[in-house]
Each structure stands twice: as C-alpha cells, then as structure tokens.
Symmetry: C2
Subunit: 309 residues, 2 copies
C-alpha cells in the first residue's frame, strides 16, 4: 500500500491518515497491519495511568521534553475509556500539539471513545503498532484508572508508571490494591502538598511488604512536581532502569508473548462478532432469536445453532 | 439438577450456591443456565448508576424498602468493575444484608471483580437471570460510572436510573454527555445542597433539547434525599411509568432481543477464548507464537493459522 510506504518514509500526513483508518476499523485494516507488522518491535512502550486529576498529562509532557533533549523520537497516545466525553480530549490534544508543532520527532494523538466501546483497546494497541513501525523510539500511552479496557490497553506497555497524588485520599486507598499489581514505577505527583510524605511512606512500605525475592523488580516511588518540572529526570531514570531489568531478566519476552497472543485473540473475536451479527440477520438467525424470546430455546443451545448458520 | 430444583422451590441456600457457581464460571454453568432459562423473563430489571459518592447504595436501599411495602420480592446485585478492591463491597454487603436478614423476600449480593475482569459483565447478567428464575419481582443492578463493562452490564436493565449529585461539579459536566444517552430517569440526590436547583434546571433543559417526538420517552428528573427517604415514592413512580411506556411502545421487545443476542455472543466469545488458549498450548500453537515473535508472521495471518489448530 502506498500509504504505508509513505508513512514508513516519514510522511507525517500518511501517518495521521493510517492512524485514523486503524482507529475507525477501516476495511483496509488487516492489509495495513500485515504490511506494518514486520517493521514493529523496536519501540519502547510506556503506560502512564492514575486517577483523574493526578496530573498525568502534565507529567507526560515533562517526560516527552526530557526524552527530546536526549534526541529520542516520541509519540503520545492518550485515551480515556471511562469518559464518554471526547470533546475535552481533542481540545487538550490541540493545545498539546501546538507546543510541539514544529517538531517532526513528536507525534501526539488522543483516541476518541464514542461509538466504539468494544473495540477501543484493540484499536489503541494497533495504533501503537503503527507508531512503532513509524520509527518512534518511545511511545507513551496515557490512560485513566484501571477498568477492564484500561487494563487491556496497558497490556501492551512494557513499563507502567502509576501516577498518584497526596490529596486523592480515600479513593486512592481503594485503588491501591489494584494499582500495586500493575505498577512498575510509582510517581507521587504534586508532592509539595502536605500529605505527600505520608503517602510516600505508605507506598514504600507496601512495596517492601509485597512478595519478592532477589530477582524481583521492587517498584521505586518517585516524588514529582510535574507543573514545575521537578523530579522528572529521576522518574525517567527509574523507567529506564525498569526497561533494562526487563531485558536482563528475560521478562521482556514473557510480556511480548502475552501481548501477541492477545492481539491474535482480539482479531479472532472481532471476526466472530461480525459473523454472529451476520448470522442473526439470516432467516434461520431470526428464527433462533424468536425461539429465544419465547423461552423455548436457551442461549447455550442458541449459541450452538448460531455458529452453524 | 437438584440444586436448580431446590432453588426454584425457594430454597435460599441453593440460590446462594447457584449464584456462586455462576459467578465463578463453574463447569456446570451451561447446564445450570439451560435449566433456568425457561423460568426467566418475568422480573423487572432496573439499573442504578452514577459517579462514586452519589449515594447510589442508600438510594437503592430506599427503593428496596418502598418496594417491600408494596409486597414485591426484591433482589439487589451490586457491582463496581472499575474498583479492583472487593473487600469494601463485601463488607457493605454484610451491613446491608443485616437490615433485611429476617426477610426471605429480599436478596442482596455484591459481585467481586478480582481475577475475572473479562467475564464480569457476562457473569453479572447470568446472575440476574438466576434471580429472575428465583421469582424476584424486581432486580436492582447497582453499578458505578459508564465504562465499557458497566455499559455491558446495564445492557440487561430495562430501566436505567442515573443518580447525580449537585457538588460533583466538573466531573458531572463531563459525564453528562454519556449519561444522557443511557438514562431513562434522573435522580438528583442530596438535593438539599445549594447547587441542586441549578443542576436540576440544567438537566431539565438538556432533556428538553434532546431529539424527541410525541412517541419518545422524556427522561424525568427527580430530586431525592435518600438519607432522609425524601423523594423516593416519586422516583419509584417515574420508574414504574417508564416500565409501562416500554410495554406500550413495544420497546420492551427491542431491548429483550438485543439482550438475548448479546447473551449468545458472550457464550460464543467465551468458548472462542478457551479454544484459543488451548491452541496456543499445542506444538503448532507454540510454533505460530515463535514466528510472531520473530516478526516473520503477522497477527492477522497467525489468527488464520490458530483457528485451524
């Protein structure tokens, strides 16, 4: 495909158009991904998550600028699956893009959530593969919270940074349990607030108490003030240390295998969804539905019948 | 199955054990659902959603008590997919159950989210079918927010009540867009707060501006103070009016058809997931995975190969 060839040669508009096609699950999708896939596997993919209001976007901007001073090409994909409101994301996108508008080594994209709830995590992962093929060194995937879709999206990140803030209080207490399981690095943002040291101590204690041996990665906790660009270099150092750990420990392969299995599964599920949709439109499908409505057929037997249509 | 027969005869422990089997996706699951399905389709299923801290649980308790004075048998299913912390839900469950411990016409259950992210919405829907078969007149499904899992769960509710609170401020502004699309009735809780009338006016204006004709349902907005049991009877009246509207307009059938199609789809996807898992464990599956890792095979071709294993 010409569009893919142009994108691989660094043509920015082709990249944007390819991402839109992937986001919209265009009919060319399979063809695009087949051509792109051999060029992937080089980028570092970092996930940034945390509760709303933790300052994730500001922190991502700081990381981006720091990475640019190292000469790295950086892409940002922002997605908020739990918010049905996309206008804000797109507006934020534009404001963020303006700052880097002259820089061809930066690409920032927000993914809308409207009308494609089911396919959002799959689309996001494939958008990241496109950016990987486009030659970005680091791809930052920014998401909010730890719902099902967020966890699926974060499944493609090699390093996950969980951003917390002191004042989040009770809600953070509640989230911790789940966040402990996915975090590779903690960023304690807005750390000038009075309760910061208390939360820092709690987190360090929690990490220390988690099951580990001498080969385990112990999640570092870093204080940041993204708005003043404080603590960013140290945070970046922790992320880079985790990337090195992944390679040395062999865990990078484990993560990649899991991601690839999920990618194959996502493709097969999306095909199954289409064929079920089509089966219900046939006259036998309509008949099965009618029997379900009459309760003369149960969904498990109906499933057997539908797969035969 | 004896367990199903006992449950259908009103045996409470059998009901609890069946629900646990469904929640845990027990090996008996298909058999249980096949036996239960002909007994379903009689319950009214109401969804209650809204942001955390809106007072959903208190409101659900008020509705439950009001329904009990009408002699109705009531079940409550509470699920919070976005919170990975289940201890709190279970604790809340016990406190709520104590109030109704002597009442065999009330059943309250929280569903845990740990370790079964992918299957939670399917499990919740099948738990509701079990409660329907058990003869509860009204089943209240309480969830938080409007993420993908929550929307899937709410797909089985005939009437959705969205609970808002005045002080939620900006976050509510953000949520409104999505909530407008799923709400059948708005409950404006904690309506003694000063900003309540402002939010009430905004909501009424939004409803009025939404696309509608003379056959449409216009979402009513009701002020409540659940903690003082104020406004509950009026809210209940609005829900009952919506249930009558569903029947008269023929929209009840549209909703039921959609729910049944999704149930069949969920069953087929769960089967596909199992067969993919098994395929990757075979030696051909391992070989496909190795080629994926080498980038000598792309995920779309791998999907073709895996479905043939």
């Amino acid at each position: 495909m010409k569009l893919v060839q142009d994108m691989l040669q660094g043509h920015r508009l082709s990249l944007a158009r390819l991402i839109t096609k992937v986001e919209n699950r265009d009919s060319d999708l399979a063809e695009i991904m087949m051509e792109i896939y051999p060029k992937t596997g080089r980028a570092q993919i970092w996930g940034i998550t945390g509760p709303p209001g933790a300052g994730k976007s500001t922190l991502v901007d700081c990381l981006l600028e720091q990475l640019r001073t190292q000469g790295k090409r950086v892409a940002v994909v922002a997605v908020d699956p739990s918010s049905p409101f996309t206008g804000g994301a797109i507006l934020g996108d534009r404001i963020r893009m303006q700052k880097h508008s002259g820089d061809s080594n930066v690409y920032i994209r927000s993914l809308g959530t409207r009308g494609q709830q089911g396919g959002l995590s799959h689309a996001t992962k494939e958008v990241v593969l496109v950016l990987d093929a486009a030659g970005f060194d680091v791809i930052l995937v920014e998401t909010a919270g730890v719902g099902q879709t967020e966890l699926e999206i974060l499944g493609l990140a090699q390093t996950i940074v969980v951003v917390l803030v002191p004042e989040s209080g009770d809600s953070i207490q509640v989230m911790k349990a789940g966040l402990m399981e996915i975090a590779d690095v903690f960023a304690l943002n807005k750390s000038d607030r009075p309760e910061a040291d208390q939360l820092l101590r709690e987190l360090v204690t929690m990490v220390g108490m988690s099951a580990h041996d001498e080969t385990s990665w112990l999640m570092p906790v870093h204080k940041t003030e993204a708005i003043k660009n404080i603590g960013i270099r140290e945070l970046l150092g922790a992320i880079e240390a985790h990337q090195a750990y992944l390679t040395q420990s062999g865990k990078r392969w484990v993560k990649t295998r899991e991601f690839l299995k999920n990618e194959v599964r996502d493709i097969l599920i999306s095909r199954l969804n289409k064929s079920i949709e089509a089966a219900f439109l046939t006259s036998s499908g309509q008949d099965i539905l009618q029997q379900l409505l009459n309760r003369s057929l149960d969904p498990y037997h109906a499933a057997d019948l539908i797969s035969g249509v």
